[in-house]
């Protein structure tokens, strides 16, 4: 069965509108070209190799290239740095160390725990120590190898267990979520069990690595082209590094070659150092580490150890749960606080825990400082919740799906999360019911159990359904704001700018669709321009799946401001009521008269009406108090579910993913094709995280998997043989989001948890489903085979 099916995505033509459903949004029938499967705005450039990324920008004559020298120990102090030989290399223009820098602080919160370049303490192997600037990148890179650095080396703390043994120092305070009395619930529950799950980290493996290109301007100003998800923060760090006001620094991002969270804080160091060198040398400076250095020196998804205790009954009802989520955070805080918080926010997934206590431990280790990555701790939290379900299923002998449904959040009751926010939009049961039907789950599960029991070969199959509920909003409430800038020129063409960044997710396309919808013009009339801190200031990172929600709304407000002016003008000019001014199909209906959009704009200009506006949006309703663990951190939740079927080879541990069915909701989708793309891509990335993507460090703290030769992300041939992806077309956001759409960037990543559970189901067959496999992640072939061996040994001793 070699078909790829994607219902809803196979729209070849741009003008294929989704059929409009019941009017949750009164205006929705007028919202074209929103809700249509428009292609990515740069697609025609991508395919032709004509979409410039930072490294493709023309280099002014005299451009210099920087390269970083990295530490070769994981823990200790630098005793001496001798860079004479580096300086003596051909084409080297400058060598820069911590001593040259004034403001030497790259830490995300400016708490001073992460220097740009270190001169004293070494926190991890691969930490930047010095920078070489030369006339070519090759020369700079080669020159780095001539450094002589002496270290006083200490034993590194490399993982969660070592960190706990060493006293459990944290990089930032942990958090506790508590509702009800979990201890009492455990004590009173008919049955209890406890266990541990190890959850691996993940490298972003954005195809375009970190890069920044700083071009000095007049009078101490600086333009930096950077592959960053957070231009405003990068701008501030550049300004700090230069000791200049932020107003003298402009950050510009046209597009990134992937980011996934890996360029939320990690891009700052490169941009700041490039700018520092450019300022010092009075020449443009570009910095681009090679893939190995990128993987060694920049942060990744946190790996976790989740310890759990469960109180439950024989019917699969869960009475109480206690969790400790300990994370390897690395040598500095970076974003580890909010990441580990978000793990706790998802320790419930779609389940109501009657009594719960969840504690996070963001532990200090001598490894690279872990950072944001699609899901931002949420996936790790959710994997813990699903393990709890699985444990109860094996303990009770019930179908895991039965246990899941028994513990789902309720409607109007049993709907309070561990952080005391009420779940008001729980559409999951409908999704699960529809998916069970479309995937034929029950029959396939029966058949698999039967064939596994009858099988005398070495292959076994497994199947699992796992659900997703993901909270949308930055949990630091103040970040939930955005700005946009819209100009209309007198020929009717529209210039759009907003604070979000384009990293492949189609944000620019969606926001342009929204603006085109407001003016009732074809999408082509809206020109998207590079994100620039000079146009929209003080923006939040494009992260937390919020890009379209926030920036789409800000752009909508900006466009509506101008539209209102045009309406007012038309009303004044033509004496019709405002309701009779309608923007549609590039035309404006003014009473009985119809004029072209450009015509009206030209008239408005002549009448001295402003054709430019900013827009500003902040998410309503949300608040969060970390200290008390209570609040309403999420504006809404996004839901989905997946059924995966796998086949494992019990001799080698190798496996294939045979079939995956996904039903996911994105509200009234702004662009179904782009949303399907996010689901397919997010699923693939999640599958990689839980299967073949394994980060391995040696005992010295050296990352051994720092290139695609050793770090294996999924290939086309790893994708499910049959892959059915559908949007829940009935879905509408219950809050007034932009055209009632829902965020899509992160939630689908976690649909891949179904693959881990299907693998676990297949593994469980070797002990006739009597033992919970406790399959940790990533489930590499080696890990699968070793788990099979353990289960076989355990079932022998049990008999």
């Amino acid at each position: 069965m070699n078909e790829v099916l994607a219902r809803g995505a196979d729209r070849k033509h741009d003008d294929d509108a989704l059929p409009e459903k019941d009017g949750a949004d009164a205006q929705s029938h007028e919202n074209a070209p929103a809700h249509q499967s428009k292609r990515h705005d740069s697609a025609h450039l991508h395919v032709a190799g004509r979409a410039p990324y930072t490294d493709d920008l023309p280099e002014p004559p005299g451009t210099l290239h920087a390269y970083l020298g990295l530490s070769t120990i994981a823990n200790g102090r630098i005793e001496s740095i001798d860079l004479e030989a580096v300086r003596a290399q051909p084409d080297v223009e400058a060598v820069i160390t911590a001593d040259d820098l004034g403001h030497n602080d790259a830490s995300a919160w400016q708490i001073g725990d992460e220097p740009f370049l270190t001169s004293g303490k070494v926190g991890f192997l691969g930490q930047p120590v010095f920078m070489v600037v030369a006339t070519s990148r090759n020369a700079a890179r080669r020159a780095c190898r001539h450094a002589k650095i002496a270290y006083a080396e200490d034993t590194p703390i490399l993982d969660v267990d070592q960190a706990r043994e060493a006293g459990g120092r944290t990089v930032i305070d942990g958090m506790t979520l508590e509702r009800g009395d979990a201890d009492a619930a455990l004590a009173n529950a008919p049955r209890t069990l406890s266990g541990t799950m190890l959850i691996g980290g993940q490298d972003h493996f954005y195809l375009e690595g970190q890069i920044a290109f700083a071009v000095p301007g007049e009078d101490g100003t600086m333009i930096v082209y950077s592959s960053t998800q957070h231009p405003s923060e990068t701008q501030m760090l550049v300004a700090h590094a230069l000791h200049r006001p932020a107003a003298m620094v402009t950050l510009e991002v046209r597009r990134m070659g992937g980011a996934f969270g890996g360029k939320e804080s990690q891009a700052n160091l490169f941009a700041a150092l490039a700018a520092f060198a450019a300022d010092r040398l009075g020449a443009p400076v570009k910095i681009r580490p090679d893939r190995d250095d990128d993987m060694v020196a920049t942060g990744k998804r946190h790996d976790f150890r989740a310890d759990y205790e469960i109180g439950f009954d024989d019917e699969g009802g869960i009475h109480g749960v206690k969790f400790t989520y300990a994370a390897r955070c690395g040598f500095s805080a970076d974003l580890s606080g909010p990441v580990t918080d978000r793990a706790l926010f998802h320790c419930d997934n779609t389940y109501y825990w009657p009594a719960v206590k969840a504690v996070s431990q963001p532990l200090f280790t001598n490894t690279v400082s872990n950072t944001a990555f699609r899901g931002f701790g949420g996936p790790q939290g959710m994997v813990g919740a699903e393990r709890v379900i699985e444990e109860v299923a094996f303990a009770t002998g019930l179908d895991p799906l039965e246990v899941r449904r028994r513990n789902f959040y309720g409607e109007g009751e049993r709907n309070l999360t561990p952080y005391h926010q009420t779940v008001e939009d729980f559409v999951l049961p409908r999704i699960v019911d529809e998916l069970l039907e479309s995937s034929d789950y029950e029959a396939r599960r029966q058949a698999i159990r039967q064939t596994n029991r009858d099988a005398n070969g070495f292959k076994r199959r497994g199947i699992a359904l796992t659900p997703v509920k993901f909270g949308i909003s930055f949990t630091a409430s103040h970040l939930n704001q955005a700005g946009a800038l819209v100009h209309i020129y007198t020929d009717g063409s529209i210039h759009l700018n907003h604070g979000g960044t384009e990293m492949g997710q189609g944000l620019n396309t969606k926001v342009a669709q929204v603006v085109a919808a407001v003016f009732g013009v074809p999408l082509e009339q809206v020109r998207i321009t590079a994100t620039s801190t000079g146009k929209v200031p003080n923006t939040s990172a494009t992260a937390a799946s919020s890009g379209a929600d926030l920036n789409g709304m800000a752009a909508k407000l900006a466009a509506e401001t101008i539209r209102q002016r045009l309406v007012d003008f038309a009303v004044a000019e033509h004496g019709v009521p405002a309701e009779q001014v309608v923007f549609r199909d590039g035309q404006v209906q003014i009473g009985n008269r119809e004029v072209g959009f450009a015509e009206l704009v030209e008239e408005a200009y002549t009448a001295r009406i402003s054709l430019s506006s900013t827009g500003y949006y902040r998410t309503p309703k949300i608040h969060w108090d970390r200290a008390s663990g209570r609040g309403h951190p999420f504006y809404y939740f996004a839901y989905g579910a997946a059924v995966s079927e796998v086949e494992i080879d019990t001799l080698t541990g190798e496996y294939t993913v045979e079939r995956v069915d996904i039903l996911h909701e994105t509200g009234n989708s702004l662009n179904p094709a782009i949303d399907i793309g996010q689901i397919e891509g997010g699923f693939a990335q999640g599958m990689g995280w839980l299967t073949t993507e394994e980060l391995v460090w040696d005992e010295k703290g050296r990352l051994l998997t720092h290139a695609p030769s050793t770090y294996k992300i999924p290939l086309a041939s790893d994708m499910p043989r049959q892959f059915n992806v559908a949007l829940a077309e009935w879905s509408r956001a219950h809050e007034p989001t932009v055209f009632r759409s829902k965020a899509v960037g992160e939630p689908p990543f976690m649909l891949a948890i179904s693959v881990l559970h299907a693998l676990s189901d297949a593994v469980a067959s070797v002990a006739d489903y009597t033992i919970c496999p406790r399959l940790d992640a990533p489930a590499t072939p080696e890990h699968i085979l070793m788990t099979i061996e353990r289960l076989r040994a355990d079932s022998k001793t049990a008999n």
Binding site: N2, H46, A48, Y53, L70, G677, E680, A716
Partner: protein, 532 residues
């Protein structure tokens, strides 16, 4: 022309020497007087020519963002295009070739090429950074196979990573493109002129060029950048001391190669550069004087005589899929799991052997089949059993100035049971954690007459499982015999733990592969994992 045909230019006279390198880049000829051994095609395209559509994602041949097409004439003068990773193609290798980059597929502002249009229509790009590489890989596929099925598409894309899309829309796009025609395809349209130009350039000359002043000479080891420890096996590090020799010496013929290499034993032969290219991009090693040999068609033949297949050193994995797998079908599933398509197009069997890696995929099967290696130095030739070539980790039985000319594989009996099983973390485009190669002959009554078993990834060299073989020979081929032979693995191997696998897993899986082989022999014919 075949590997053991008499060398046409086997004369005492050295060929004429040319000091300007020449090749076609898209629609233009390029002439270069200065080229360094470690200049890569990708840097040339991006930095010199500012053809920035070709991307760098890894600089080690693993991601495919840099995929270009390489057009060359075969021995019969026919023009063939294959995809290659520009990041590890060294400039010295492309003399006389046609390089096609993504920019060539569609005119600026003009209509897109049908493959590009399909990628747009099916939403096949998100961030777009991988996209030009995918377009070029699909282009290479459609040139060979006008209407590929899904399996062919997946195989063609094994060497291309995409982190955004999950591949589904790319596969949909690939399956939707109609067969290419000269009207919308520039390369098809240019074929005659390109063929003519490349043929004119085949003038039997030797190319000698050198680079600019060496940028830095030999780097001192132990510096501050991290030396990758995953060593895409560095090969024999017999580096010349002192100042680097930045000449490129491109022989006109095999005879010329023999002469050149004997005179310049410190020279670095490069065939497909799928190992050597990484020494340059990852370790910044000196590779001069560079002796490119990939163009020598005389080393590219596969020929049957006296019950053996003689395989030229330059036979690529892609070539082998036709010529070798046809005669010995067990090779097919293994070859499809070596590298990605770009690597299979460039990487050679001779290079895989000469490189001496314990995790190269060709030696264990070839050893199991009893292959002989044919070495040549100047006019002197010697043969030795392949397994004797690998002395210890990093050390092979190859003299200075000696090169691999070919190897001979005795054609197995039709009754032989043969299987090659590769274990890796990811199924495709991954380096072996453990590879077992099995070659069994039973007597009429079902006892083991001969069995040759060789493993990769289990020791410092590709190695026979001699103790296991001994435990099986003369015994009936039964599950009991196999189970009792498993203990002998301890005698043969003490594998290591690394980032690819633990020692325990290697040992367990090595044993299980013998079990798998036994099970497979119970149903005839042997089904390897080819059954996809």
């Amino acid at each position: 022309m075949t590997a053991n045909a008499p060398d046409p230019s086997d004369s005492a006279l050295p060929p004429p020497i040319r000091r300007t390198m020449r090749f076609l880049l898209n629609d233009r000829p390029v002439f270069l007087d200065r080229v360094a051994p470690d200049d890569t095609l990708l840097d040339f395209l991006r930095i010199e020519k500012r053809l920035t559509g070709t991307k760098e994602g890894c600089a080690e041949g693993d991601c495919g963002a840099c995929t270009v097409l390489l057009g060359t004439l075969d021995a019969q003068g026919r023009l063939h295009y294959r995809s290659a990773n520009a990041c590890i193609v060294l400039m010295g290798m492309i003399d006389g070739a046609h390089i096609v980059t993504v920019e060539h597929l569609s005119p600026r502002g003009g209509p897109l090429h049908p493959i590009q249009q399909a990628m747009v229509d099916h939403h096949g790009s998100q961030c777009g950074f991988c996209t030009p590489g995918f377009v070029m890989s699909l282009y290479g596929l459609l040139m060979r196979q006008p209407t590929p099925d899904r399996l062919a598409v997946e195989r063609a894309l094994q060497g291309n990573l995409c982190r955004c899309t999950g591949y589904a829309p790319i596969v949909r796009a690939a399956l939707s493109v109609a067969a290419l025609s000269g009207t919308d395809d520039p390369v098809l349209a240019e074929r005659p002129t390109v063929t003519k130009r490349l043929a004119e350039w085949r003038d039997g000359s030797r190319l000698e060029v050198s680079g600019h002043e060496a940028a830095s000479g030999n780097a001192e080891p132990g510096g501050a950048t991290i030396l990758p420890s995953d060593v895409p096996y560095e090969g024999d590090v017999s580096e010349s001391e002192g100042a680097s020799d930045n000449r490129i010496l491109r022989p006109a013929s095999v005879a010329d190669l023999a002469r050149l290499f004997e005179d310049n034993p410190a020279g670095r032969i490069v065939a497909g550069a799928t190992d050597v290219g990484l020494w340059v991009t990852k370790f910044m090693r000196d590779v001069g004087p560079l002796i490119p040999i990939g163009h020598l068609d005389e080393l590219r033949g596969v020929e049957e005589s006296d019950g053996a297949l003689r395989i030229g050193a330059n036979v690529s994995y892609t070539d082998a899929l036709d010529a070798l797998a046809e005669r010995i079908p067990a090779f097919a599933p293994l070859l499809w799991r070596i590298g990605g398509n770009q690597i299979r197009n460039m990487g050679t069997i001779g290079g895989n052997i000469a490189n001496g890696s314990p995790i190269g995929d060709m030696p264990p099967p070839l050893i199991a089949l009893g292959a002989m290696l044919h070495l040549r130095k100047g006019d002197a030739r010697r043969d030795l059993p392949l397994e004797d070539f690998f002395i210890e980790y990093g050390k092979q039985d190859r003299w200075d100035g000696e090169f691999v000319e070919a190897l001979s594989v005795p054609l197995p009996s039709p009754d032989a049971k043969i299987a090659f099983h590769k274990i890796s973390k990811r199924r495709d485009e991954d380096i072996t954690a453990c590879l077992g190669a099995f070659h069994l002959m039973l007597t009429d009554d079902g006892t083991v007459d001969t069995i040759r078993i060789a493993y990769g990834g289990m020791a410092g060299v590709p190695k026979r499982a001699s103790a296991v073989e001994k435990a099986l020979i003369g015994r009936p081929w039964t599950e009991d015999a196999v189970e009792s032979a498993l203990a002998a693995f301890e005698e043969d191997f003490t594998p290591l733990s690394d980032m690819r696998a633990s020692a325990d897993y290697r040992m367990l899986v090595a044993r299980n592969l013998l079990r798998r082989f036994f099970a497979d022999t119970q149903d005839d014919p042997i089904q390897t994992e080819a059954a996809q």
